[in-house]
Amino acid sequence: MSAVPTATPEAAAVAQPEARRRTGVAPGAGRNIVPTLFMLAFLVYFLMPLVWLLISSTKSLDDLFDSFGLWFRGFHLKENIQETFAKDGGVFWTWIRNTLMYSVISAGGAALLAAMGGYGFAKFDFRGKNALFWIVLGSVMVPQTALAIPTYLLFSKVGLNNNPLGFILPSLVSPFGIYLMRIYAESAVPTDLIEAARIDGAGEFYTFRKIAFRLLTPGFVTVLLFTFVSTWNNYFLPLVLFSDEKWYPLTVGLAQWNSQATASGGSTAAFNLVITGSLISVVPLIIAFVFMQRYWQSGLSAGSVKG
């Protein structure tokens, strides 16, 4: 089974972050108005919903219904934020705290496991290595429902549903992280260096901790970011797992507020709070993205340049 193409060490070398950044532009290249206009049109498309979200979260519920969606009417952002955090006894704080806890622990743990595992797959030979690796890779194709529902059933038998561990433990398993770190370790950690450490009498785990891990750091950060985002964005597993809203992450909580608002309908529904809550949960990630661009790009290229 080969869901994700195997990578050769040469490909990974090409993909190494910043290794071959081109200098300057190709000769004869000039900026052109036609492609710029084309890109501007799509800029409007990609930014419009976010602009809508930003503007809408400054409106009171009545103004939401009455005013044009893409322009301001009144300024109720402060009130909306206060109401969002006050609703249902401040449960929104709990959801933020949960989401942060799930994402930070899962990301840190998954990246560490992937770094160790990828290093093990890249730099050692052991029985059944290839079979194991292919099973891990093939697992990418398993639909989330096929996993989430039996996970829920198993966990409710051992009391892990309505328990943060029930969400965190499965989130630590990142097959794509293992794949990425294997490619990365193959090119970033020279085997000679490991051999040299061995000759000097260093233990394998000492070598990993003190030498290899430093070289693996850019890959580690990439897996960290990916797992962070995928845990932050995860909806299905927590939806299935948690029936107690004190364990909800933001995604499940906001979806619940939305269906409540839609069900009650009209001007009593808290649409303004769903909208403001959405804005609050989107802003931190967008800021993080803008500042961590470099990692995204280098990491993505390491995973996908060659088949």
């Binding site: 800029l43 893409l70 429902t145 299905f236 993205f289 995204w296 996908s304």
Partner: protein, 312 residues
């Protein structure tokens, strides 16, 4: 798989690649490095999967309780009209949405790479930004934007004295969902393609430029063939994602329950079977069928890609 075959596979790859590797006495240590991951993988991936497989072979019966029924659940699934229409719907969605999304991502990446536009950094960041928005929130947002109460489209149509298209009607729903996915994922795919383009050594097409090839010809004949692996990877991930469509229809159910219903996509159907109807055995069998469909499509794409490469 027996131990003998596993070792022979490992041994043959070692020979085949001819790469210098650590001696076998380090092997156990290597396994220890992968062990923590493997333990969790077994516990939270393989175990639930095997449990689902086990469940799928049984049926809760009014008389006699839980009975082994072999592949009956699977047979029922294959002839279940709700499941089949859901699969048909996501297949149609996939055939339309994936090419549009990847085509746009590819065009954006090529344009950015050709350095022919102003503000390339702005475009790169802004197009990628929706990826930071959780699918659930993207669906909530677009749901409001499509709607008549808060949506700018409805406002504009009112001003013009017409009525806006009903984005959440039966006719348009699938494409409204496709738009949410396209909005969220195009930038992500663009960044993958762009990163792959940046990794191509520039000498490769500087030569073509010296020979008088324009940007479009260079893109078509030099860059595109080199992007093939990245395109294949993105295609497979997009296929997996579209067959598993869940969050968007589940969110839109709140605003358009009659259109979405209980079985709009196979995943939604499986979810409702398990949690509303308590038909766990049947839903387990359907999720396996769905996994099989994902697998078949992925293999098909890889096969076609290889065929195309051979005929070149």
């Amino acid at each position: 798989m027996t131990e003998a075959t596993v070792t022979s596979v490992a041994a043959s790859t070692r020979r085949g690649r001819g790469r210098r590797k650590a001696g076998t006495h380090h092997g156990v240590k290597g396994f220890l490095f992968t062990a923590p991951f493997m333990v969790l993988f077994l516990g939270f991936f393989i175990a639930p999967l095997l449990y689902a497989l086990y469940l799928s072979l049984f049926r809760e019966q009014l008389v006699g309780g839980n009975a082994f029924v072999g592949l009956d659940n699977y047979k029922d699934g294959l002839s279940d009209p709700d499941f089949r229409s859901g699969v048909g719907r996501v297949a149609l969605y996939m055939v339309v949405q994936v090419p549009i999304m990847l085509g746009l991502a590819l065009v954006f990446a090529l344009i950015l790479d050709s350095a022919k536009v102003w503000f390339p950094r702005l475009f790169r960041v802004a197009f990628f930004m929706p990826y930071a928005v959780p699918t659930v929130i993207a669906a909530l947002m677009w749901g409001y934007i499509y709607g008549r109460d808060f949506g700018p489209f409805a406002d504009i149509a009112d001003k013009l004295g017409t009525s806006p298209p009903n984005f959440l009607s039966e006719k348009l729903m699938l494409w409204s969902i496709a738009n949410v996915a396209t909005w969220t994922w195009t930038g992500y795919n663009m960044i993958i393609f762009y990163a792959a383009l940046r990794a191509i050594p520039s000498e490769l097409y500087e030569a073509a430029a010296v020979d008088g090839a324009g940007a479009v010809r260079i893109a078509r004949y030099v860059k595109l063939p080199l992007l093939r692996p990245a395109i294949l990877l993105c295609t497979i991930f997009s296929i997996i994602g579209s067959i598993q469509l869940f969050a968007e229809p589940q969110i839109f159910y709140a605003i358009a329950p009659q259109v979405i219903g209980k079985a709009y996509t196979p995943n939604l159907y499986v979810y409702n079977l398990a949690f509303s109807d308590q038909r766990l055995n049947y839903s387990a069998a359907l999720s396996f069928l769905l996994g099989l469909i994902v697998f078949i499509f992925s293999i098909l794409v890889m096969y076609m890609s290889r065929r195309q490469e051979e005929t070149r």
